[in-house]
Amino acid sequence: MGRALLFQGLVGITEAMYLWLVAAGLSLIFGVMRVLNFAHGSLYMLGAYLTYAVFRLVGGDFWIALAIGPLLVAAVGWVLEVGFLRRVYRVEEAFQLLLTFAFVLIFDDLVKLVFGPLYQSPPTPKGLSGAVVIAGSIFPAYHLFILGVGAAVGLGLWYFLERTRFGLLIRATAADREMARALGVRASRLFTWVFVLGAWLAGLGGALSIPVRSISPGMGELIIIEAFVVVVLGGLGSLRGAFLGAVVIGLLHAYGLLYLPVFELALAYVGMAVVLIIRPQGLFGVREG
C-alpha cells in the first residue's frame, strides 16, 4: 500500500516535469511581457515533432535530436515575437491573446500537413531504456532522467534570474517596465530573448516527451489547458508557483488514476476551483490591483 503510494507519487512527479517546462515558459513570458501565450502548448508540440524529425534525419541519435529540436522551436519563438507579437503590444490585450490563438490553429494543421495525422512513437534512447527498482517496483530509468532534467532546469532558471546580470534586467523589467526602460534597459530586445527562452523551454518539454508519450497533433492543446490550470494554481508570473502547481497537478492525476479513475480528468479543475476560492491570486501570486 505504502509502496504503491510512493511509486505512484514518483510517476506523478515525473509527469509533472513536462508540465513544469511548459508552465515555466508561460509564466516567465507573462511575468515579463504581460502576454499570455496561447500558442505555448503548440510550441511544446512543435518541440516533439521537430525533435522527432531531427531524430530520423541524423539516423536515430536521440541526444543530437534533443540538442537541436528545442533550438529550432526557440527559432520559431523568435519569428513569433519579432514578426508578429511585437506589432500588437500597443493594442488591447485581448488581441494579443487572439494573435497567439491564431497560431494554435495554424500550427495544429501545419504539423498534420507536414507529418501526417497519425500518432508517432520513437523508441526510448539507448542507455536509458533500462529500469531501476525503487521501493520494490520497477521504475524506468528514463523517468529518473526526466526528474533530473526538471530539477536542473529549475535550478538553472533560478541561477539565471537571481545571479546573472541579464536575469537582474529581466526581474527589473517584470517589476516595473517603465522604470526599467527609463534606466536604459532595452525592453524590446529583452522581450525577444525572454520569449525565445520560454519557447525553448516548451520545446525542450516536447522533445523530452517523445520517447514516452506518443506524438499527436492534439498534444499542444492538452498541455496548454493543463498549464493554465497550473499557473492559476501557482500564481501567474511566479516560477516557484509554476513548479509547485505542476507537481500538484501531476500528483492529482497520478493518484486520481489510482483511486478515482472516472473523475481523474476533472480533479485538476476541482483543485483549481478550490485554490481560487481560498486564494484567488494563486499560491505564490501577487494580489491583483
Binding site: A94, F103, V104, L105, I106, I225, F263, A266
Partner: protein
Amino acid sequence: MEHVATALSRVSGWRAGALLAIVGVAVLLVPVAFGSFAQYLVLNVLLLALFALSFNLLFGMTGLLSFGQAAFYAGGAYVAGMLLRAGMPVFPSVLVGALAGAAMAVVVGAFCVRHTRIYFSMLTLAFGMFAYAIVWKWTDVTGGDDGLIGIPRGRLGLLGPLDPSLAPLSRYYVFATVLVFLSVAVLHRLAVSPFGLTLRAIRENAERAEFSGIGVRRTIFIAFVVAGFFAGLAGALLAPLEQTVAPTAAHWTKSAEPVMATLIGGPLVFAGPIVGAAVYLGLKEIIVRFTEYWLLVFGLVLLATVLAFRGGLLGALSRVVRNA
C-alpha cells in the same frame, strides 16, 4: 476604434429597423422557396449568430474575451436533449435548456468575474474544458463519446389544444427562427440600454467606472449570466435540429466559433457577429470542399484580422462609408 462604432450607429436608426424587417421576412421565406438543405444551413447560421452575439456581449461590449462559452452552449444542448428524450414538448425543453446555460454561468461566473481580463480568458477556457471532461466521462447521463442520440422533435408545447407538431423541418425552422429573432431583439435592446452603456464604460476603463459608482463585478456577472442564457438557448435549439448532441459541443473548438465569427464580422458593431456567423459558415462550407485543413485557413484569417482589420468586416465597411 470607438468612432467606428459611433459612425455606424449614426447610419443606423430607423433604417436598421427596416433592414432587420426585410432580413426577417427573407429568412422566414426560405422554407417556401428552397429545400431542406438551405433551411438547415440558414438555421445553423442563425444559431451561430445568436451564440456569437451572446459572446460579444462580453467581448465587444465589455472587453472580456471568453474561451469557454461552449460550456453553456453544450449545457443547453444536453439538457434540452435529455428533456426531449424524456418526452417533454419542444418549447419547454428549449427554455429549460437555456436556463441551464444561465445556471451554469452563475457558477462559472462567480469564479471568473473577480479577476483581470487575462485571468478571465484563462479561467473560462479551463472551466469550459472542465465541462468537456464531465460530458466526456459521465457516460451514464451524457452518453459519453456517443453523445445523446435519437432526440425526438415532437409537439411545440405552447398552444394547448392547437399545439402543432414540429417534426417537419420547415415548421421547426419557423419556430427556431422566431425564437432567434426575438433573442436578437432583446440583445439589441440590451446593447442600447443603460446597462449596455455601463458595460462599455467598463470596457473603456473599469477603474473609472468603479469610481463613478458602477458595481463593476456585479455588472460583469449579470452580463456573464445573460450571455450564458443565450449561449444555452443556441445550444438548446440545436438539439432538436440535429436530433443528436455530441460531446464536441463542449470542446474548446466550439468556443472558438463565436470568437471567429465575431472577429470576422466586427466586435464593435452590434450586427458584426451576425454577419460574421454567415461569412464564417459560408467560408467553411466552401473551404472544406477543397481541403481538410480549414483550421489553417481560419488561423491565417484570424491572424490577418488581428494584425490589420481589428474592426472586422463591418468596421472596415463603416470606415469606407464614412470616407465616401
